[in-house]
């Protein structure tokens, strides 16, 4: 029944050589109800534009489910299916394994089909971390897991997650008269953790849709390289971060220029910094974090002390980490021998 012998090959998706060479077809179009200025919706559009039509998308519960795909409408022009909050890893793996089984056994026509499962920071880096980790060990199944990080459980009305920045105002961490800062945890280093923890995973990358062509090219690389891959996208969120919607693009740039969010990829174990992050690693001064934080209402309650603490932690990422911005291992601690 098979027309061609099965090879487990991926599609060859060449990088776009600049914004004017980006394909014009949209595979994420009208039919969603996301907020004005929603960066994650832009990420969805760019992700599937980069992937093209021979793609199956699995969307775990979150803003990009509830705000995006409400019966009787859908913005997706590719086959799309819901999956559970903590299931993006399983959805990617199961879809890929199902296709492989059928193609190998000649029960369906062999062709490389992109499998992309997306998750938010809550569903991915918290609840579904175990499932994503498992999928990244299965080098024989091709997939991309894309985590869109708006730094909260945004869909359920902005509750803090393990990816929420220190001190942020969320509905689970409101600044009050007795406790000004409830959320004292530092953000998980998800992309670095996954890259370090899965030696046979060929591609892990961070992206920021303010640098859209780079983001799309990383998606293409992830889909072409073979095996399970992971991309972490930082998505400014007007509702959760509390700012005028027109500032999403600018905040995406400031996150990188302050060094708060690093742009890099780990391809077959080789770390490459990108764009303004690369410049920072090479010595360019970072913008002070307060330029980024104080444009967001969620940090409006911050004192000078809070800003200094935040700045010091970000300084460590670039001044102390062995692999700057990627892995929090220090060569040595001051005062120890």
């Amino acid at each position: 029944m098979a027309d061609t012998a099965f090879t487990n090959a991926t599609q060859i998706l060449e990088p776009f050589k600049g914004v004017k060479k980006v394909t014009i077809e949209e595979y994420f179009t009208s039919g969603h109800r996301t907020c004005q200025g929603c960066e994650s919706a832009l990420v969805m559009k760019l992700m599937v534009k980069a992937a093209g039509p021979r793609t199956i998308v699995l969307g775990s519960t979150g803003c990009m489910y509830v705000a995006n795909t409400t019966y009787y409408t859908t913005p997706w022009v590719v086959p799309w299916m819901h999956t559970q909050l903590g299931s993006s890893g399983s959805a990617a793996l199961g879809t890929s394994a199902g296709l492989k089984a059928l193609m190998r056994k000649g029960k369906m026509k062999s062709e490389p089909i992109n499998v992309i499962a997306f998750c938010g920071d809550g569903g991915g880096a918290d609840m579904g971390l175990g499932a994503i980790s498992a999928t990244l060990t299965h080098k024989e199944y091709n997939s991309l897991i894309l985590l869109y990080d708006n730094e909260s459980y945004a869909n359920t009305d902005i509750q803090l997650s393990g990816s929420t920045p220190y001190g942020a105002n969320t509905t689970f961490s409101p600044p009050g008269s007795v406790k000004r800062i409830i959320h004292t945890r530092w953000k998980k280093n998800t992309a670095g953790m996954l890259a370090a923890g899965h030696p046979e995973c060929r591609y892990v990358a961070t992206v920021d849709a303010s640098y859209a062509v780079e983001m799309m090219n990383k998606v293409r690389k992830a889909l072409t390289i073979g095996g399970p891959t992971f991309i972490h996208s930082l998505d400014p969120c007007p509702k959760g971060w509390d700012y005028d919607p027109m500032l999403s693009h600018e905040l995406g740039e400031l996150a990188v220029e302050t060094g708060v969010f690093p742009l890099y990829e780990v391809e077959d174990g080789v770390v490459r910094h990108y764009g303004k992050t690369k410049a920072i690693v090479e010595g360019r001064p970072r913008k002070p974090v307060r330029e980024y934080l104080l444009k967001q209402g969620r940090f409006a309650h911050f004192t000078e002390e809070d800003l200094e603490y935040f700045q010091a932690k970000v300084d460590e990422m670039w001044d102390k980490w062995e692999i700057p911005g990627v892995i929090p291992f220090w060569k040595e601690r001051p005062g120890t021998k």
């Binding site: 793609t55 559970q84 498992a134």
Partner: protein, 409 residues
């Protein structure tokens, strides 16, 4: 009183194998050309996954075999494999099945025809390996088809039937086949294993039709729905479950025709019920002590019979009521519990009561709980249950209290 049995010899186009319930399931899955299976260890179901691994390693079965990192992922993975058209199998026991619960909930409304084996096991806490039926019963409201089997042969046959029924487009619902932990999963019996040729005549290919997830079919599956559509979606599931009854009858009729063997009544096994005064009811391997106990009582002149329900969902209400109408009293022995339920009865007892509520003939019904956590159901337990039923038959009514048999008070 022992009953002498002689081996019958292989049925035409079958071979005989001495295999456990789990191994019998693996034989059926091999014949069904399973595509994707996920495994995660928990006693006592995991012997089926071990048996499947051997089949794959020895080249008898070609399938993607994925070891998950937990039951939630285990079930989610095959759920998704099914949506792109792969024939899938999964399974668990006890709290493992509970860990998968979110996936178990969404599989029926997604119309994913997953076939699973539940190696019935007591739920924690305490951690216990012995058989109880509550694990599988937990999904009884959600749209799963549920069946209890009591022999390795029945396990093998039911696995083949399950794919035929679940993958029928009129149904497209998941099926859980319950096998008592240890007593069935691990005990061996001679089974008639059909040839691949026979199975191919009986079991068509899985065809997901217009619901297939594929780039040529850009559908959106399971978008978020609000109060304007949810009840209609639920109603579709209700209709599918109702259609399952006819599909089950058809499937068994075809099975008998192709295989040259098989039960006339898919819904329940009747043992010595033709002239029974007392009918006892029990699911799963409890049938063994019950049948031996019944033969002993028959030798004493007591006309006791057994109905062993197979299909629990869909519940064969009319047929069950008809079969029970001849009894002077009914004794339901639940190998499960439902704390705080009406009369604090087990699940099966209350379902039978509900089935009988509108019947013309409603014999007195006694509810028993026995054999929890793998505790042996003894011949004394069975005799006591039957005697209490006789007392109720004589009085013409029953005390609705639930009786726990074999408990150290």
């Amino acid at each position: 009183m022992a009953v002498e049995t002689k081996p019958a010899g292989a049925v035409a186009d079958h071979k005989e194998m001495l295999i456990s319930g789990s191994e019998a399931c693996a034989e059926a899955l091999t014949l069904a050309d399973l595509d994707v299976v996920t495994a995660y260890p928990i006693r006592p179901y995991d012997t089926v996954m071990q048996a499947i691994a051997k089949k794959i390693a020895n080249g008898q079965l070609e399938a993607e075999y994925i070891v998950a990192e937990g039951e939630h992922s285990q079930f989610e993975i095959v759920k998704h494999a099914s949506t792109v058209g792969a024939r899938v199998f999964c399974g668990s026991s006890g709290v493992g099945w509970m860990y998968a619960m979110e996936c178990l909930t969404v599989t029926p409304p997604l119309r994913v025809p997953m076939v699973c084996m539940v190696g019935n096991r007591a739920l924690d806490d305490p951690g216990a390996f012995g058989v109880e039926h509550n694990d599988a019963l937990v999904v009884r409201d959600l749209g799963w088809l549920l069946i209890w089997v009591d022999t390795a042969q029945e396990m093998l046959d039911t696995t083949l039937l399950a794919y035929r029924i679940a993958e029928d487009r009129r149904v497209f619902l998941p099926i859980a086949i319950s096998a008592d932990g240890a007593f069935l999963t691990h005990s061996q019996a001679i089974c008639q294993v059909p040839s691949r040729g026979l199975v191919d005549k009986f079991l068509p290919r899985y065809d997901r039709g217009d619901l297939l997830l594929h780039p040529d079919n850009p559908i959106t599956v399971a978008p978020q729905a609000n109060e304007d559509w949810v009840i209609e979606i639920r109603r579709q599931n209700d209709e599918a479950m109702k259609r399952a009854t006819a599909v089950i009858d058809e499937a068994y009729a075809d099975f008998r025709k192709v295989m040259g063997r098989g039960p006339e009544n898919p819904w329940f096994e009747e043992y010595m019920t033709d002239d029974a005064e007392i009918i006892l009811i029990g699911m799963g391997t409890i049938s063994l002590p019950m049948k031996v106990g019944i033969r002993n009582m028959r030798a004493q002149g007591k006309k006791v019979g057994l109905i062993r329900p197979r299909w629990f969902r869909p519940f064969p209400t009319e047929r069950m009521v008809k079969a029970l109408s001849k009894a002077s009293a009914i004794g339901v022995i639940d190998r499960d519990y439902s704390f705080g339920s009406p009369f604090n009865s087990g699940v099966v007892a209350n379902e039978i009561r509900a089935a009988l509520y509108n019947a013309d003939k409603r014999p007195p019904l006694l509810s028993f709980i026995c054999g929890l956590g793998g505790r042996e159901v003894t011949l004394e337990d069975v005799a006591k249950a039957a005697d209490m039923c006789y007392a109720a038959a004589k009085a013409g009514k029953s005390d609705p209290k639930t009786h726990w048999l074999g408990v150290r008070e």
